[in-house]
Amino acid sequence: MIYQGKQKIWSEYQKEIPDDKWYYVRSCIRQNFFPASEKMFMEICRNVLGKDIYENEHHTTCGGIAYHCDTIPQETAMTIVARQFALMTEAGYENYVASCITSFGNYTEILETWHENPELEAKIRELLWKACKKEFKKPKYLAHSSDLIFKFRNEIAERAKFRLVNQKTGEPLRVVEHIGCHYSKMFPSKGVGGAEYPYVLTGMVESWGGNVIDYPERRHCCGYGFRQYHVKANRGYSISNTHKKFESMAPYKPDMIITNCPGCPYFLDRWQYVIAEMEGKTYGENGFGIPVFTYEEVAGLVLGYNPWDLGLQLHQVAVEPLLDKIGIEYSPEDKYKGLNKKDLLRPELPQGIKCF
C-alpha cells in the first residue's frame, strides 16, 4: 500500500525530458575527482545513444561553490550564469544540461528568482552586457545530467552486458541511492520524483536489476556543507554527517552506493577511509568499505566498460568486491597503470580499511 502511495507521489513529479540537442556544462568537483564519469556521460550520450551533446571550451565554473561558501554576492553568481546562458544561445541550443547538482540548484534558483523578480533579471542582463557585451536567452529546458541517464536507463539496460545482480546467489544487489541535497530539496518539482521520493537513481537501479534500500537517514546530507569542508577547521561537521548515514545504512548490509551529486561520492568514499583509520571501523564485508559510485560509473559497468577506464582506481574504497559480485572481469595489475600501460607505481595501502 505504501509503495502505491510512493508511486502516486512519483507520478506527480515526473519531468518531460527532451530527447536530444543539449548544451553541456561541466562540474568543478567532478572534473577534479571523477573525470572519467564526465567522459563516460559523453560516451554514452554521443557514441552509445547517438545524441547531440555540445560542449564549448569557453564555459567556466557557475560559481556555485563560491556562492554557497558566501564569498561572492548574488549578482556576481547570477551574471556568471547569465554568461553561460549566452554561450548556449550563441551555440544555437535551447536545452541546457549541467553535470553538477550545485550548478543545477544554482541555475534553478536563479531562473526562479528572475521569474519572481523580473527587475533583477533586467539588471543582470545590463551587467552582463556591461562586462562582456553578451546577450542571452534563458534555456527552454534545464536538466541535470543524471536526468538524461535516467531518461535513457531502459536503452542502457537493453545494451547491458551485466546486471546489478549477485552472480553467485542470483539475488538483486542491495543498493543505497544518495541524491544530493540541491537536486530537489530547494525546488522539489524540478527533480525526478521530487524531494521526498526522488526517483532519478532508483529508476536506474531498478532498470539495471538492483534493489534499492530504504533506511532511516536516506535523505540526510552527505556532510559536504561547502565551508564545512573547504575550511580544514570545520571538517568534523562533514565526517560526522557521513558517519551518521553509514551507521544508519549499515544494518541493511548494502552492496554498493550510487550517487547523484559531484561531492557526495567523494565524501561517502573518503570519510569511510578516515573513519576506518580513526576508529578501525569498516562498513563493508571482511574489512572492506561499501563501494561508492557515480551514476555514470554504474552505467559504464553495466554496459561492460573496463573498470579502470571508468576511473574506479581513483576511489579510496576498493571496488573489487562489487566487481566480483557482479562477475565483471578486471586486470588487477593494470589498475594503476597510465596510458599505454605505463608503470606509475602504486598508492600506499591504508591501515584501517582493505584495499588493493
Binding site: G63, T71, R83, T113, K134, M186, G225, R235, Q316, L344
Partner: protein, 231 residues
C-alpha cells in the same frame, strides 16, 4: 525599523525565505548543523522576524550564522515554506559587507575561503582546481589521491582529461578571453569589491591579533576552538 533589518530586507532571499515563521522547530529537527554545532535555525529566523536591531547585530558578529552547511534541507520540510538557510545566506552576505564577520572565529574563515574560491575562479575559471588543491591540506583524500597528485598529468591523461589543454574537455585550460570576462563580471557586479572588503577587514584583524597575513590564513583555515559543539 532599524537600519540592519532594512538592509536585510533588500535581499531577495529574505523575501523568499521568511513568510511568518510559526516557530515550530521543524528546521532545527532536520538540520545537519544543529546536530553537530550549538546551533538552532529556528531561533535565528525568530530573531530576524522580530526585527530586533541589537539582536540582529549580535547575530551578524557571532559564530552562529556560520554553522549552516547550506544544504537547504530546511526549505523542503518547513510547513510554512520558509527557508531558514536562505535567511542565513542573507545574514552572511550582510555580515561580509559590513565587516562584522571578523568578530567571530567562524566568520574570520571568510578570509581563507575567499582567497581559495575567488582565487581559483579568477585564475583558472574553476571553483576547485588541481593546482591549488594540495594533498597536505586534504589528507582525508587518502593515499590514492597522494599517488594521483604525484602522477598528476599522467593520471588525468589515463582518465581521458584534457588537463591544461586547449579546446573543450575535462580540466581544459579556460581561454584567457573567458577569464578576462569573468574578471569583468566580478568588477561590475560587486565581486571585486567584496574581495577587497574581506581583505581590508581581515588585514585589520590580523594586525590586531599580531599575525602576518600568511599566519592569519593558516590560523583561520586550521584552528578550531572547542566551544562550538553540542555536548
Amino acid at each position: 525599523m532599524g537600519k540592519l533589518y532594512e538592509l536585510l530586507k533588500e535581499d531577495y532571499r529574505i523575501k523568499d525565505g521568511l513568510n511568518t515563521c510559526i516557530n515550530c522547530g521543524t528546521c532545527t529537527a532536520i538540520c545537519p548543523a544543529a546536530e553537530f554545532y550549538k546551533y538552532d535555525p529556528r531561533k535565528i529566523v525568530d530573531t530576524v522576524q522580530r526585527a530586533d536591531e541589537e539582536e540582529i547585530e549580535k547575530l551578524l558578529k557571532s559564530d552562529t550564522i556560520w554553522y549552516c552547511g547550506e544544504c537547504l534541507s530546511c526549505l523542503t520540510r518547513c510547513p510554512r515554506k520558509n527557508g531558514p538557510g536562505l535567511v542565513i545566506m542573507a545574514l552572511r552576505n550582510l555580515s561580509a559587507r559590513l565587516g562584522y564577520f571578523v568578530e567571530s572565529e567562524k566568520g574570520r574563515q571568510l578570509y581563507p575561503l575567499t582567497k581559495i574560491m575567488t582565487g581559483n575562479i579568477l585564475k583558472y575559471g574553476y571553483c576547485i582546481h588541481p593546482d591549488s588543491f594540495s594533498w597536505e591540506d586534504h589528507m582525508e583524500s587518502g593515499p590514492v589521491w597522494k599517488w594521483h597528485t604525484e602522477h598528476l598529468e599522467e593520471s588525468y591523461a589515463r582518465q581521458g582529461a584534457n588537463f591544461r589543454g586547449d579546446g573543450p574537455g575535462i580540466l581544459r585550460k579556460i581561454p584567457q578571453e573567458s577569464l578576462d570576462e569573468l574578471k569583468a563580471i566580478f568588477d561590475v557586479t560587486g565581486g571585486t569589491e567584496r574581495i577587497e572588503t574581506i581583505e581590508k577587514y581581515s588585514r585589520e584583524k590580523a594586525k590586531e591579533m599580531g599575525m602576518t597575513m600568511e599566519e592569519y590564513f593558516r590560523h583561520t583555515f586550521e584552528e578550531c576552538s572547542d566551544n562550538h559543539f553540542n555536548d
